[in-house]
């Protein structure tokens, strides 16, 4: 029970952070694209609950949830989104390129699937350097599984037996196009043809279930030092990019989404989540204040760190 409370706390924290982004967005304090994780928090929180400090996660442009689930600092997060000098990457990254190396969050890319081979390469380095017991998580969406580099990465990781968890957050959409209009292949058959164990979880709304189910996948990577594939079904509540909803656009059904939302523990106010709201809101207000009061970069910062 204590653990369930902790997992729900983290999910709620991510959601409230993103709801704050939605609230702030019309003020133009955040002048960059935001790809919100609302609806997908349980995947990040549940999987990261099984990770150890030495593990690395390679994320993508929809990365707020993983960044926060791994303990990425909140004031520097808001500073980064607002283009402040105190941001994690001094305002040069923004929402799409979050990173917190001290927390094992390695840089996020805005090009779909492009960080998958980075996880494989870091795992290759770990093998060459005889670092044992480390897990390298390649986190990507279902659209990324269509990219050639995904197949290439599965092949290399399997061939060299590397400790990579291929984690597919399957929200069923690539921007506005559903999987049925994009994929002629069976993901399971594709992945297993490379000899990887294939884990598949439908209940991606429940962080406790995700934690329990992904534990075996993570431990198999860690213990056996071999790649494993984990697909977790999830749902993106908001538009692909931006703070709004877009059910009116007609490419997906609000009714179907409501079936999913009915199972979302964060949408069922309980004593567990309600008691945390105030605490989290205070933390968020402080973080936003820190960002708003932080200096913007100067012209001298423009050409630093180029080569």
């Amino acid at each position: 029970m204590k653990e369930r409370r902790s997992l729900l706390f983290q999910c709620l924290r991510i959601r409230l952070v993103e709801e704050k982004i939605i609230e702030l967005y019309p003020t133009d304090l955040i002048q960059s694209p935001v790809h919100l994780s609302i609806g997908q928090e349980a995947v990040a929180v549940g999987v990261c609950a099984n990770l150890l400090p030495q593990d690395w996660v390679f994320i993508n442009y929809r990365g707020h949830a993983f960044y926060l689930a791994r303990g990425g600092p909140l004031p520097e997060f808001f500073s980064e989104l607002m283009g402040r000098r105190t941001g994690l990457s001094k305002g040069k990254a923004g929402s799409m390129h979050l990173a917190a190396p001290a927390r094992g969050v390695i840089g996020a890319s805005a090009v779909v699937a492009s960080t998958i081979p980075h996880a494989v390469g870091a795992a290759l380095a770990a093998k060459m350097k005889k670092q044992s017991g480390r897990v390298f998580v390649a986190n990507f969406g279902d659209g990324a599984t269509e990219q050639g580099v995904f197949h290439e990465s599965l092949n290399f990781a399997a061939l060299h037996r590397l400790p990579v968890l291929f984690l597919c957050e399957d929200n069923g959409l690539a921007v506005h196009t559903s999987a049925a209009d994009r994929q002629a292949f069976s993901l399971e058959r594709l992945v297993t043809s490379y000899g990887l164990a294939y884990f598949d979880l439908a209940e991606g709304y429940d962080p406790e279930r995700v934690r329990e189910y992904s534990h075996q996948a993570v431990e198999e990577v860690r213990r056996e030092c071999r790649p494993v594939f984990l697909r977790i079904k999830t749902a993106r509540y908001r538009e692909h990019v931006g703070p709004g909803e877009d059910f009116h656009a007609g490419y997906r059904s609000a009714g179907e989404m409501n079936l999913w939302k009915a199972k979302d523990p964060l949408l069922h106010p309980s004593a567990i989540t309600e008691e945390y709201r105030r605490e989290i809101s205070l933390e968020i207000e402080e973080a936003v204040k820190f960002a708003v009061e932080s200096p913007v970069p100067t012209e001298e910062d423009l050409l630093t760190d180029v080569i």
Binding site: K92, G121, A123, L124, K129, D305
Partner: protein
């Protein structure tokens, strides 16, 4: 292998990389086979079996794997037996490797080397011959070098591996692999940046890249006997050349000829002319001349290929024209002879 041969210098550079730096590894197609990437990686797999990795035919992911390994403390050397195959890594190279340091505000660095070999002659054709230095030198965050001598290879590969903390692309030229070199001027002080003054002269400045340096030196030797004094600069670092050296030379001679291994449009010659124009266009006493590949994909037939690439004949003609100031310059030209025939060793198959 001799350190005075281009191939020998490459083999030595690779061996030293493995010997001196335990976190270096080599990955690419053919690096473990019996040919060992034209002999430049031969024997290394036997000595370092875990650090010389035969790559699947999957350039895109292998480049990404190099980035990931660099993030975890390794130094990858990724080879491309033809630079043309390197086009398959442009997403990882341009969108990721070139941006990792800047985009994350200095949180990460990805020290790594890409060896790309430019093919030429023996019917290399349209897809085994491209010289892509200006495409990559266009991108902030990348260091692009075209070593033209064994000394340049030994100095710049050592520096890139031991000292530089970002991605470096080395364009090697297949036509030079078989050649023995005499000692030339030393590499620049920071060997992956800067240029080399190969030969001093007063009448015409020739700025050359890669194998065109050899042709420029042959042209300069020939023209010396005809009373024309040619200064030859090996541009060497394409992304970070020594513009001061180029400008100083052109101020002295007033005449500029750029001889590059690629196309002229938006290329090395365009860039050097831009810098001169933005500095002081009056230093040019005559319109500058660019010698480059013809504006077409590379043909396979030898007779067409000989028209396609500029050579010592074209260099002498252009330099004499610049010096005398008219097309009918009166300087006798060397016999038209294809470079492949001159550098006799280049007989296929490759």
């Amino acid at each position: 292998m001799s350190s005075n041969s281009y191939r020998g210098a490459l083999a030595i550079a690779m061996r030293r990389a493995m010997e001196d730096h335990e976190h270096t590894f080599i990955i690419g197609q053919g690096v473990t086979d019996f040919k060992g990437l034209f002999g430049t990686t031969s024997g290394l797999f036997e000595r370092y079996p875990s650090r010389v990795i035969e790559a699947p035919l999957a350039e895109d992911s292998v480049a990404g794997i190099c980035i990931g390994s660099a993030l975890n403390g390794m130094y990858p050397i990724n080879t491309h037996i033809r630079a043309d195959f390197g086009l398959l890594i442009f997403n990882q190279l341009i969108n990721l490797a070139a941006k990792y340091r800047y985009m994350f505000g200095g949180l990460f660095e990805v020290p790594m080397m890409m060896r790309m070999i430019i093919g030429r002659s023996w019917g290399q054709g349209a897809q085994h011959s491209q010289s892509l230095q200006s495409l990559l030198a266009h991108i902030p965050g990348l260091v692009v070098v075209m070593p033209a001598t064994p000394q340049s290879i030994l100095a710049s590969y050592r520096y890139a591996i031991a000292e530089h903390r970002g991605p470096v692309i080395m364009f090697e030229h297949r036509l030079m692999y078989e050649l023995e070199f005499e000692d030339g001027p030393p590499a620049p002080e920071v060997p992956i940046f800067g240029s080399r003054l190969e030969r001093a002269g007063d009448d015409v400045t020739v700025v050359a890249t890669s194998v065109m340096l050899l042709e420029a030196k042959r042209a300069a030797q020939y023209l010396e006997k005809q009373g024309v004094s040619v200064e030859v600069i090996d541009l060497h670092s394409i992304s970070h050349p020594d513009y001061g050296m180029v400008l100083e030379s052109v101020r002295k001679t007033g005449k500029l000829l750029v001889a590059d291994t690629s196309w002229a449009a938006y290329g090395v010659s365009a860039e050097i002319n831009r810098v001169i124009n933005e500095t002081d266009p009056s230093m040019l006493k005559a319109p500058s001349v660019s010698l480059a590949m013809q504006p077409a994909p590379c043909p396979t037939a030898k007779v067409l290929e000989d028209f396609y690439y500029p050579d010592v004949y074209d260099l002498v003609d252009a330099a004499a024209r610049l010096h005398i100031g008219r097309r009918e310059h009166g300087v006798p030209l060397p016999p038209k002879q294809s470079m492949r025939d001159y550098y006799k060793h280049f007989k296929g198959p490759f």
